[in-house]
Symmetry: C3
Subunit: 116 residues, 3 copies
């Protein structure tokens, strides 16, 4: 089976990997860590769009998303940016839980599984 | 590839998504938040049964389960309900970690990946 | 679809499950809980190697890894062992978050998804 790996980061991980029909993005975060959770969610999802595109797919084919919030009370604010992004005709399954993230300024990290 | 999405929730997510042979449930929780972790686990797993059924599969074909506990010390109690549910001839791979969940009354949330 | 389940643990889970071309390991941890995070990561990854081998695959075909750290500040130390293990020509996508684990001596738990 052909495996495509794109956007290597620091020799540690690939930011997106496709194998056959399946595509996995890495846990994706905002670039601008000064943004609030709405802004960080918007940037993380925009990066996911780019990564899905690298494997020839898009948000309408996302099957599952894991959303880690640095504070679970940010869920409503995160959801505002999620709702502005998600394809409402093709809603993914999702889990949203609290977890401390790699940088204390990070409020949200998102990884998705999609098909081509 | 055909993608089936069922049980949309608040326009935010689908509670189960199937694509080809793969099925993903959303993070599933109990309805009755007054239950202890054994009862909440039982209800979350019963909901997962329903979701798997919507995609034409069942617990005997679960490949992986992620279990988030609000307090990791609840693992033994959660496992009692897990053991009453799981198909012992077809044990999934599993990860069980602590995470703060969306409602402070929630003690457990479970998402599974299965095949048809 | 044929499903292979190996290394059952306490009648609760399988440590690795393969279905078609996909392989899922359980959340894997070190045997020797007296080790620091570098040693625990090395042992967890060695166990993952064994589990992948049981399903006829290897680390060069890992698509995604979830890494839970008991303390996110251990990420750099964990990464030293990760970098010594990972196939640099075939970097997986990855998410690394903090989560309290089943035993307070555990510092790291890792689950991977691979193809055959």
């Amino acid at each position: 089976m052909r495996i495509d790996r794109h956007e290597p980061e620091a020799g540690v991980l690939s930011n997106v990997v496709g194998a056959g029909d399946l595509v996995f993005t890495a846990g994706s975060v905002a670039d601008d860590l000064s943004l609030d959770v709405k802004g960080q969610t918007r940037e993380a999802l925009a990066y996911i769009d780019q990564m899905l595109s690298r494997c020839g797919t898009s948000k309408s084919k996302v099957l599952f998303a894991t959303i880690w919030l640095a504070d679970i009370r940010l869920r409503d604010a995160m959801n505002e940016s999620w709702l502005a992004w998600v394809d409402k005709a093709n809603l993914p399954a999702r889990a949203c839980i609290e977890a401390k993230l790699a940088d204390p300024r990070l409020t949200v990290e998102i990884a998705v599984t999609a098909v081509k």
